[in-house]
């Protein structure tokens, strides 16, 4: 630790030191006798400003501030998965062991378990040349994920000694590297990386594969690409957290980082419990084995809330560098923006929109740009997908955080209060939402799901669009006055809304629906639509068609057809033929 400086002023989480100091910008510091963790956020010749990640009650002027000489870093190594951390990567279970059910101040603990033995296989030999980011060892972190131990991206050189395969602890030396200047570095199982700096990659690639979520409205209407960024804005009670949980459970990423940023404590407890109990359909293992949780609840210190988003994305990037597809759910980025506003207010900076600092858009874009489908330094491909929830004030999408997030994400899943009131879940509004990835993903759907996928999607979406304009009329004069072909559109749209878009997260089959089933369901619905169109053109009243019970039956097909019996959906087509055949022959 460097020489100490003395505290001069304290205002909430912001502490100042008078005069010129040797501290550097964004350096991590320990504040006061209790050694509270903090970070330098402003420097000038009269004073140094520090934001403190813990409660500053009881701090006094004149207490020392210790510099650490490095930026706020995340500890990266095996043991991250299955863990739950706070916003500055302190493991919450270790904090519980130290201070009980309530979090005390000034607790210091290592982010990762230093005593646990890992079964390590080395994959380099003496004399090998390694460049930054290349893999030198491997260990099975959880049954689902093999952890590749990589050289720090900042190092490169020649391996001069290698230990044999075996069981090692986190900080044991397993190899020694000599860099170009002849300096020797002991390589352990872990490395550190400053959380505010994106980890370097070889090349950014075009995102051309979708993140399959098993949620019909997302996969079919508004898909997000692996390596893309999506925003979920919605007022309270519209199901942001529910949607995020569904994505974390079912999306086909290799690895999930779930950041609870300024949200409810009980929700994190629930996530922890549910993810431990649930089984990943693809690996057959507990979902927690591919998950890491970061919990900085709303009553935990506000500055650590600001850091939690960066800690989360750094962990995701680290696993991306191993060649995995990581997805990060940030719930909610609005709380993070509010933390920025709060700190900015304490610094007496000039506010822009609604009191938010003028640098809000640039911080948001920096964050969302850390998503991407990359060629990584360890020579494979990996991606980070960001899914950020936004909690607009007063459910008003014109507020600064929603507006700026819209600029930097290409996928927008707008949650709608009136849908949520009617208990239509997921309450994603199909007219306000959009995805700009459709063009990029078209080929993938064509090759992997079905050649007609995009065509069906477009037809479904245009029926919904047509319905919304018809509804304007219905609201004024009632549905009875519409001609039968328009009534048919309304009935089919109702079928799509209730039978297709609505999805029950608590139903064992309906909670996750593979894309093949989504396509088949669309085909059945459209088949019915086309048949009915023909019949209505023959002047058969629509009431007769409704009496066949086909519409009710199709509404329930999502429950009636299990995910492993997709052949049953083909039977629906012949059933439609049988029921409607009479009318067509006439």
């Amino acid at each position: 630790m460097k020489e100490s400086n003395l505290i001069f002023g304290i205002n909430g989480p912001v502490v100042t030191i008078k005069g010129k100091t040797t501290l550097s910008m964004l350096e991590m510091v320990y504040v006061g006798e209790q050694k509270l963790v903090g970070e330098v956020i402003a420097l000038d010749s009269d004073k140094t400003t520090i934001q403190v990640y813990e409660d500053t009650a009881g701090l006094a002027p004149g207490e020392p501030v210790y510099g650490t000489g490095s930026q706020l870093c995340a500890e990266l190594g095996p043991g991250i998965l299955q863990n739950i951390f706070d916003g500055i990567e302190r493991p919450l279970l270790a904090l519980q062991a130290q201070s009980g059910a309530f979090i005390d101040k000034g607790l210091n603990t290592s982010a990762l378990d230093e005593e646990k033995l890992w079964d390590v296989t080395l994959c380099v030999k003496e004399g090998d040349l390694l460049s930054g980011g290349e893999v030198y060892a491997e260990t099975q972190e959880t049954p689902a994920i093999s952890h590749k131990i990589m050289l720090s991206p900042l190092l490169s050189g020649k391996i001069v000694s290698v230990n044999p395969d075996g069981a090692y602890r986190l900080r044991d030396t397993i190899a020694v590297l000599e860099d170009q200047r002849g300096e020797r570095h002991e390589l352990t199982l872990c490395q550190r990386w400053p959380i505010r700096m994106p980890r370097p990659v070889a090349k950014r690639l075009t995102a051309s594969r979708p993140l399959i979520t098993g949620q019909r409205i997302l996969d079919t209407l508004f898909p997000v690409a692996k390596g893309g960024a999506a925003a979920i804005p919605g007022g309270f009670g519209t199901g942001k957290t529910m949607t995020q949980h569904q994505l974390a459970k079912w999306c086909d990423a290799d690895l999930i980082v779930y950041v609870g940023c300024g949200e409810r404590g009980n929700e994190m407890t629930q996530a922890l419990q549910e993810f431990s109990e649930l089984i990943d359909p693809r690996t057959g293992k507990s979902l927690m084995e591919r998950t890491v949780l970061i919990a900085n609840t709303s009553n935990m210190p506000v500055a650590a809330r600001e850091a939690s988003i960066y800690t989360g994305i750094t962990l995701a990037e680290y696993y991306r560098d191993m060649g995995y597809h990581a997805a990060i759910m940030a719930d909610s980025t609005s709380r993070w923006a509010e933390a920025l506003r709060e700190i900015s207010g304490r610094l007496e900076e000039m506010p822009a929109d609604e009191g938010f600092p003028a640098y809000l858009p640039s911080r948001l874009s920096e964050f969302y740009e850390r998503a991407g489908y990359m060629e990584v330094l360890s020579h494979g491909e990996g991606s980070v997908t960001i899914i950020g929830a936004v909690s607009p004030q007063g459910s008003d999408f014109s507020e600064p955080v929603t507006q700026n997030t819209k600029r930097f994400t290409r996928c927008f899943w707008a949650l709608d209060k009136s849908l949520a009131y009617a208990r239509h879940y997921p309450a994603i509004n199909w007219t306000n939402s959009y995805s700009e990835y459709l063009g990029d993903l078209e080929q993938w759907y064509h090759d992997n799901v079905g050649a007609d996928f995009m065509q069906c999607r477009e037809e479904i979406s245009s029926i919904l669009y047509e319905e919304s304009s018809l509804m304007e009329i219905v609201k004024l004069i009632g549905a009875d006055v519409l001609p039968d072909d328009q009534k048919l559109t309304i009935e089919i749209a109702r079928l799509i809304r209730v039978g297709f878009l609505q999805q029950n997260a608590f139903h064992p089959d309906d909670t996750y629906v593979p894309p093949e089933k989504q396509l088949k369901m669309m085909r059945v619905i459209l088949y019915l639509y086309h048949k009915c169109q023909q019949i209505v053109a023959l002047q058969v009243p629509i009431g007769r068609l409704l009496e066949t019970g086909l519409f009710d039956k199709l509404t329930k097909m999502k429950y009636d057809v299990p995910n492993d019996r997709l052949d049953l959906l083909d039977a629906y087509l012949s059933e439609i033929d049988n029921a409607l055949g009479n009318y067509i022959r006439k």
Partner: protein, 454 residues
């Protein structure tokens, strides 16, 4: 370390600035002694070198620049805690006002509390039966939940809160207690609560913290914190199930705004400070259950929405923190429906895990969903009827309208009845039978066979 300081440098609203202070601590408790011998309480809110800003809870009237003596206690603000708290009445700063003398403390509790570790929380699952159909069936209250009542001036939120206390207490054993905090409510309201607790026979299990509307405004900022410190002690040290009623959170937020503006802070929306969300979270998040104690803290904060506007920052930010909300409706209230719960905008986030087989009854979840969906349709039909007239509606819409009317009158408008869960659910099915079976699209066939076809 206790130090004393003489004189003030500046006075502004409830904010006092001192200069030349020796060794101040951030957020420590201070006592200000006036010329006339009276004493005020305050706390340190900001420090810059030897300059210190104090927040004075009882206001700065009568403070003199020269003669005021300030005693810095070197301790954060604490209140005495002991099982004897039950049955006592305190002022907004936790000092006894019932004439029964001081509390002999078993321990002292810092009013600011500490954040609960998310891994130490126990996920709440046990239903609290309130005997009110709209709550039990549609926005179930769970032990350890924070479920606010969003109301407006003149509506019957106090009656509802009292009814919840009365009916919930009967179902429970002696481990049940109530902590009541009044912030800026009228004296009559505080008295109404006291009398209601008395007539329900629970007064010996109630702790009251009263800051009524003519009490000092800044004191309100501390009142809920005192109440929650007492609640946490009783729940987690004495293993009791505590129901905390906080009323009125709107007055609390206004006090916070007043103080923030006297400090010269940059305002956020509607003049409220930018940290209103974080501040409210430090109150609401103190509800819950932990794995080291048997007790629980359940919160029912009451707030009056200014101008009945649910997008106003106070209800808006509250809704983002709490686990749902019970919204009262002016329209129902004026038509005499009590309790006037607007079921569509009300929500209980913890409901899904506390109902169903093994908790209430297996049809609960599907029934609730169906009632919500139908009631949403009622609103559409009403909107249409207001344009084309009720007579012109289709038969299906007419049926829906009839259902809506019966729902308002019988399901919602139960008055002061105490209904069992079975009664409530059976009534729900009775209403659903007003509609043909194929219009019930949220319930699967098995449940329909069992509950619809009777």
């Amino acid at each position: 370390m206790i130090t004393e300081h003489r004189g003030l440098r500046e006075l502004n609203g409830s904010l006092v600035i001192l200069e030349g202070v020796q060794h101040p601590l951030n957020e420590e408790l201070v006592h200000l002694k006036l010329d006339d011998g009276t004493e005020r309480t305050g706390r340190v809110v900001a420090i810059e070198g030897d300059k210190v800003a104090l927040q004075v809870f009882e206001g700065t009237r009568g403070l003199s620049m020269v003669n005021t003596r300030t005693i810095l206690t070197g301790k954060p603000m604490e209140i005495p805690l002991s099982p004897e708290l039950l049955g006592r009445v305190f002022d907004g700063l936790g000092r006894p006002i019932d004439g029964l003398g001081e509390i002999y403390p078993v321990e002292m509790g810092n009013v600011n509390g500490q954040p609960m570790n998310p891994v130490s929380r126990v996920y709440p699952r046990d239903i609290i039966k309130t005997g009110i159909s709209s709550i039990d069936c549609l926005t179930t209250l769970i032990r350890g939940q924070k479920l606010p009542i969003f109301s407006g001036s003149g509506m019957k939120h106090n009656e509802l809160a009292v009814q919840i206390v009365r009916q919930a207490s009967i179902a429970d054993s002696d481990d049940f207690a109530i902590v009541f905090a009044a912030m800026g409510v009228k004296n009559d309201v505080a008295e109404y609560f006291r009398q209601s607790f008395e007539s329900a026979g629970v007064m010996d299990r109630v702790v009251m913290f009263l800051n009524v509307s003519n009490d000092p405004i800044i004191e309100r900022i501390i009142t809920p914190r005192c109440a929650l410190t007492a609640a946490e002690y009783l729940a987690f040290k004495e293993n009791k199930h505590i129901l905390v009623i906080l009323t009125d959170m709107t007055s609390y937020c206004e006090a916070l705004r007043e103080f923030s503006s006297s400090k010269g802070e940059i305002p956020g929306r509607k003049g409220f400070p930018g940290y209103l969300y974080s501040d409210l979270a430090t109150i609401y998040e103190r509800a819950g259950i932990i794995n080291t104690a048997k007790g629980s803290v359940t919160q029912i904060p009451i707030l009056t929405m200014p101008n009945d506007d649910i997008t106003h920052p106070i209800p808006d930010l509250t809704g983002y923190i709490t686990e749902g909300q019970i919204v009262l409706d002016r329209g129902l209230d004026t038509t005499g429906v009590y309790p006037p719960v607007n079921v569509l905008s009300s929500l209980s986030r913890l409901m899904k895990d506390g109902i169903g087989e093994g908790y209430t009854r297996k049809d609960h979840s599907a029934l609730a969903n169906q009632l919500f969906a139908l009631y949403a349709k009622v609103q559409d039909a009403k909107a249409l009827a207001s344009v084309i007239g009720e007579d012109e509606l289709s038969d299906a819409d007419k049926r829906v309208m009839a259902f809506g009317k019966a729902f308002d009158e019988r399901f919602l408008g139960q008055g002061n009845d105490n209904r069992s869960i079975e009664e409530t659910l059976d009534l729900g099915w009775e209403l659903l039978r007003m509609l043909p079976r194929n219009e019930l699209d949220r319930v699967d066939d098995k449940l329909l066979d069992e509950f619809y076809e009777i």
